[in-house]
Symmetry: C2
Subunit: 501 residues, 2 copies
């Protein structure tokens, strides 16, 4: 690496060494690294299995305790605990919190090639001619293209795993952390973090820090290491649109009895243009303009369209914008639509109702409350009557367009300052941990509740992903590529031992 700026030289001269040292340690310990990872994935830490959540939390707490951390399970009634750990570094003036989450998306085991909580190593992505590998009996170093399959492998247990392994590497290498270290590992991120704010607020003193590093989401699609300084927020709703009280012969009554499937389709088309633009009046009013630093960062991101079109087998995206430009905008996603019957089950009838599931990905300065108000005002302007339960006969007879809406709470988007000294220090340390150029993104398309940390702590927040982008997170056959684990250990080691500002 060439040194072109004083700070970068200072950092990279030391960190190149650190990366090499960590890589050396890792190469000698690949099996030891994967063993606890295998254990961690085996916990059924999904919302439907509270005992799996509790077991994972206990294991993680023990892992910190063993390493000398002061630990605690931060809890409020009815919520999975936050695993908290703290380890001061004598003489350090900065404190960094490492956030990750140990819960995973729900699973539908029938969709998985192998059971979601029995980790299986494969020589590559499913469908690529890969084969199952018995890594426990294979001799390291392992092929870095191997992938470990299991729910939460990439989203997001790998972030906790590389934290622990990076810590061990530094200890083994005799390298002292450069910062005070805190850990916040959440247990209900995949459920929308409904209690995180309350837990953080109750423990605000304990959690004070100069920087939050958010270990979640995948690295850039180009495989470059990624830092992100913002993330889209989220809200959404499930709606039911009502037609006749019973299925009605669509010959005798088609053109006369309102068709809820057609109404649902019209509603979607009124809210969303074919290129994804949201047509709800006022929806874009709160979208914050981009800074010149953000525009520069966006321009510097490598192209990904070609690879992604191939991966998703699509001829073209729905917009002419680049992916990063598209996710700088809010999105209206139709997650699901159901009305009547299709295929051989279809009957010539006007269906009794239509169900519609939509989520909104928000960008600064949109909030769920604003979006909800805008959507409901839009619906009322279009003649809809909004109800919160199945309408009775009197309601049906009184109102021509009835929609039942069930909103998710969700949370706002957040984007922090890319140009702060803290952000620059994180970028320099991350760059020192990789031979590839960094990808620095003003926004992550997926949602991470960054705004909660900002609202309570007002400290810089930077996203530090580990997983491969094609890890099937939120789907069946989630997996983590070994090279991403190794890179994650490098960058986490740099964040503990190289950060200074």
């Amino acid at each position: 690496m060439l040194c072109v700026a004083a700070m970068a030289c200072t950092v990279s001269a030391r960190a190149d060494t650190l990366k090499q040292q960590v890589d050396g340690w890792r190469t000698a310990h690949e099996q030891d690294i994967l063993t606890p990872f295998d254990t961690l994935i085996r916990f059924h830490s999904v919302a439907a299995e509270p005992q799996g959540i509790a077991a994972a939390a206990g294991w993680l707490q023990d892992a910190l305790k063993t390493r000398g951390f002061q630990t605690e399970l931060l809890a409020v009634p009815g919520a999975p605990p936050v695993v908290f750990g703290s380890l001061p570094t004598p003489g350090a003036t900065r404190t960094v919190v490492f956030y990750a989450h140990y819960d995973g998306q729900p699973v539908t085991p029938s969709q998985w090639a192998t059971p979601p909580f029995d980790p299986v190593m494969r020589s590559g992505p499913l469908g690529s001619g890969e084969h199952v590998v018995d890594w426990k009996t294979a001799t390291p170093p392992y092929d870095p293209e191997w992938r470990l399959y299991g729910r939460s492998a990439g989203d997001d247990k790998v972030s906790a795993l590389v934290f622990l392994q990076a810590f061990d590497a530094l200890k083994a290498l005799g390298r002292r952390p450069s910062v005070n270290i805190k850990v916040v590992w959440e247990g209900e991120e995949e459920a929308g973090s409904p209690h995180l704010q309350e837990i953080l607020r109750k423990n605000a003193d304990k959690l004070s820090a100069d920087l939050w590093l958010i270990g979640d989401a995948p690295v850039h699609q180009s495989r470059r290491p990624l830092l992100y300084v913002g993330a889209r927020g989220i809200t959404g709703f499930d709606a039911t649109i009502y037609g006749p009280i019973k299925p009605v012969h669509d010959g005798h009554y088609g053109n006369w009895v309102p068709n809820p499937a057609a109404l649902a389709a019209e509603l979607v088309a009124e809210m969303r243009a074919p290129d994804g633009r949201v047509l709800i009046p006022g929806f874009m009013d709160e979208v914050r303009a981009q800074t010149s630093a953000e525009r520069k960062a966006i321009a510097a991101l490598p192209p990904v369209a070609g690879e992604l079109k191939q991966e998703f087998q699509i001829a073209q995206p729905e917009t002419t914008d680049r992916l990063i430009e598209a996710i700088m905008r809010p999105a209206l996603n139709v997650r699901g639509l159901r009305a009547g019957k299709v295929g051989t089950a279809a009957t010539n009838a006007i269906p009794v109702d239509a169900e519609l599931s939509i989520d909104f990905r928000l960008v600064p300065d949109q909030t769920p409350e604003h979006v909800r108000a805008q959507v409901e005002a839009f619906l009322r302007a279009k003649g809809w009557t909004i109800v919160d339960r199945t309408p009775d006969e009197a309601t049906r007879l009184a109102h021509p367009r009835i929609i039942k809406i069930d909103w998710e709470a969700g949370y706002a988007a957040f984007r922090s300052d890319m140009s702060s000294p803290t952000a620059r220090a994180v970028m320099a340390a991350a760059q020192s941990a990789s031979d590839m150029p960094l990808a620095i993104s003003p926004m992550l398309g997926g949602s991470v509740p960054l705004y909660i940390f900002d609202e309570i702590f007002h400290a810089p927040i930077i996203g530090l992903p580990v997983a491969n982008h094609d890890d099937n997170q939120h789907a069946a056959n989630e997996n983590i590529r070994l090279q991403n684990v190794w890179d994650g250990i490098d960058v986490y080691a740099a964040m503990m031992a190289e950060l200074s500002w």
Copy 2:
């Protein structure tokens, strides 16, 4: 009844007597009438059960044979047979064919209050405080508001049943038919009559007649007896719209990867206006203008909106037109829509596909071929690539909007001359069989393949319905109201013994 015109007096003076006589016979035989109806409904004569179709056809053939008809099963390979019967009347100069169908719509037994092929009598419509009645042990005469529940009860086994019972009544009363009688009972009407044309054409000589009476569809919503001289045609398709090859995280890729649920919704909204108008260019070009006789008949039909809004629990129809005006127009019905998941099963993902099921109700002079061509031209103009099988990777990568379409054959609409001597004779005979004024409709909203009969036989075609309009045909809990059975026997007896022109 007052006699105001010579012909009406001639007919009604005799027919009033016939109606009274038939009513008298029926009152004495109500249990005997329902017993074979119960047997007939028990046959699983639906497309999915060919052996049920065959059994019903055999039973019907025997019923005709027993009554002295020459019978035959008219068949072509792969199709349910048409039950044909013929009984000449010495001295008669006119021949009338009575058409009905003995197959029923598919069933979803879980949606039924009682199994669809185990007929159950109830004291009224479901949900009206009704109770189950054991009609086999009850003493007739039965309450005419009782309803017999079972698949095909109203659509359309009742038409065959009342034919047989009217024939028995005439015989018991010593009344000779006034016409030569032929019977055509079809076995795949609910599948769109794909082989009817072929069967009729092959047997055209046998089937020659001066009048086709089509025993299908419900009477007028006002409960008046209905004659119809036309019926909408039908075609339709099931379509699959393709998104990414696997479910894609809608945070990271929402706004960029095309969403097939949104595409399906847009497509529906582009094809169909909120008031039901079809927006496909050229779609209305072939719609025939109304004659003044038709306009008069439409104006004379009693209003039904109030009762129907109550029955369907809708505040208002989707159009400001009267029902009869709405069904004089073609319709685009969305039978079903499915994409992704809704409710608690929803995940934050862009679905891999969307399925859409649509039928078109056609009016003269539209044909399925024209509609198909118009729809496909419209789709191509909107950038869609139409395929007939699941696209492979190369196809997906080459075309941005891919839709797989599976068309149903369907058939054209038909409207015959309301002013012909034959039509007038049928109207007079029908009026003689009822104490209520007739409702005469230029069009039936539902589809009956009248055009096939016209194309082959060029004889007048008139629809003669029996079932109550609220018989849940094409839905769960199909039923027939006993008064409609009794009225059906009256009008069928009049058509056999009173017709002359």
